[in-house]
């Protein structure tokens, strides 16, 4: 028996807004979260701009996210982002934090790339100074890759599947897909899903060395992330987190939950690093298959998609991505759906990209708009070989959006694609029972 899965809560910690209402306002108005980072100039990075949420770790304590005992010794920013997004989503779904009993019906799938290199630096320094004894009990839980899921599931008493996933830039969309499948297949009634990423100086420096980052707009930070433009010169790393509460439709209806949208389906695969794919480049065949499978699994056709939330990082992979979407959906020119890249505003949040962009996708369904692609002043001339420029809004478009395709493609040649839909309670074609 297969079940319908709906989104009943959302939380977001984004470079251009923390909390759903601030984030909604930012994406409607094309507000950039990219800022100059003086430290990066000092460290002689080529790219000296980044997207970082205006986040204060102490808020976790003062605003009752976690107890002062749990907060004491918490150093990991990545865990902080994840906790805030996840607990905000939980509260947004109308659920209480505290429980004496384990919540067996609810699980958590949350992803990240690295746990926290900055926190690990403390370990390395202590151990190298022969002071391992002084590390204390709180290091391992913050160094382990499952730190976020452990803190979140502990705070909320979650007792179903608790899984930490990692698939580079495809992590967030993959976590949501895995949560969807867990509910659809009947293993859980509710899943708290999402992803987080804290790009500290060590992670940033490693990308900088690959020469894939934007380096010509250090004096104009808000213009530095330029997906699909002629002057796109690499991506801008971003940090943050987002989370969704997914629920079995009947379970959500029974408790009178507010329903934001429905997850119709999705797919995750790999191009196998063959036929054009590599560690760092996507095999177009893999991407096309992933999108086609997501569409087929969702019982829709490519024609039904109103909006694509692209991966579109502002590298030369953008042009290939547009071609892949055209082939996978069988649409091109003026018949191509609207498409936007949230990365134009917040940069590329790596593992957090998929979840933050999914929250943006759902908000566009709920509020009926397509957010602008900012900085698309000089679209790459190759675009018009494939699609009409009218498909790429540069200011907000107010329009009914029924179905959004959200995809991300990551290092290791991994792909994930999700299909979100406006929730229609009378849609019996989705009654799989």
């Amino acid at each position: 028996m297969s079940r319908r899965v709906v989104v009943t809560g959302m939380g977001v910690v984004s470079p251009n807004g923390i909390g759903i209402s601030a984030f909604l306002d930012a994406i409607q108005n094309g507000v950039s979260g990219i800022k100059f980072q003086p430290l990066y100039e000092e460290l002689k990075f080529s790219c000296q701009v980044a997207g970082r949420p205006d986040f204060v770790l102490e808020d976790l304590k003062t605003r009752n996210y976690i107890s002062e005992v749990v907060f004491h010794g918490l150093k990991g920013t990545n865990i902080g982002y994840g906790l805030m997004a996840a607990l905000d989503a939980w509260a947004d779904a109308g659920l209480e934090y505290d429980t004496d009993e384990t919540r067996w019906e609810t699980g958590c799938i949350f992803g990240n790339s690295v746990s926290d290199t900055e926190a690990m630096k403390n370990v390395i320094t202590r151990v190298d100074n022969k002071e391992a004894k002084k590390l204390g009990s709180r290091v391992v839980e913050q160094a382990m890759n499952s730190g976020v899921t452990s803190y979140v599931s502990g705070r909320l008493g979650l007792g179903n599947k608790v899984i930490t996933n990692s698939a580079a830039c495809a992590t967030g969309t993959q976590a949501i897909l895995m949560g969807y499948e867990t509910i659809k297949d009947g293993y859980a009634k509710r899943m708290l899903v999402g992803s987080s990423e804290y790009v500290d100086t060590y992670v940033f420096g490693s990308f900088d060395s690959m020469r894939v980052l934007s380096r010509k707009y250090n004096d104009q930070p808000e213009k530095a992330s330029r997906p699909m433009s002629t002057t796109a010169g690499g991506f801008v790393p971003g940090s943050g987190s987002a989370a969704l509460v997914l629920e079995d439709l009947d379970f959500a209806l029974a408790r009178g939950a507010r329903i934001y949208a429905e997850v119709l389906g999705g797919s995750t695969n790999s191009g196998g690093q063959r036929t054009g794919g590599s560690m760092t480049a996507a095999n177009p065949q893999g991407v096309i298959r992933c999108i086609e499978e997501a569409v087929a699994n969702s019982n829709i056709s490519g024609e039904d998609i109103d909006l694509i939330s692209g991966h579109l990082t502002a590298t030369n992979a953008d042009m290939q991505e547009i071609q892949n979407w055209c082939k996978a959906l069988g649409r091109s020119g003026d018949n191509f759906p609207l498409m936007n890249s949230l990365k134009s505003m917040i940069g590329h949040c790596l593992s957090a990209a998929g979840s933050i962009e999914s929250v943006a996708s759902i908000l566009q369904i709920v509020h009926g708009f397509a957010h602008p692609n900012i900085n698309l002043d000089d679209p790459n001339p190759e675009i018009s070989n494939h699609i009409s420029l009218n498909c790429l809004p540069t200011s907000v478009v107010k329009k009914k959006i029924n179905i959004v395709a959200k995809a991300n493609f990551g290092f290791g040649d991994v792909n994930s694609c999700l299909i979100f839909s406006k929730f229609n309670p009378n849609d019996t074609t989705r009654d799989f029972k």
Partner: protein
């Protein structure tokens, strides 16, 4: 330092690790750190590290095993600080 003085100082060391501030205010030598103050057993290590730093002493594994209640903590701190003078 008298045992009472150490006990008063110990409250500050234990404070970050317990939510039960009332129980902490009323500790005596018989107070069990885990059962009475609801301190997570993993945090006993952090309490030892904090005490080492506060009193500038070293607490070895054998001594640490005694630090499960307030009286035991005072015994160890008293013994180690006396060794230093």
């Amino acid at each position: 330092m008298t045992r009472q003085e150490i006990l008063n100082e110990l409250k500050k060391v234990l404070s970050p690790y317990t939510l039960d501030k009332e129980a902490l205010a009323n500790i005596d030598e018989g107070t069990d750190l885990i059962k009475d103050l609801k301190i997570n057993s993993a945090n006993l290590v952090d309490i030892i590290i904090d005490a080492e730093s506060k009193y500038n002493i070293e607490i070895d594994y054998d001594a640490a095993d005694k630090m499960v209640n307030v009286g035991g903590c005072i015994d160890v701190i008293e013994e180690k600080t006396n060794q230093q003078t």
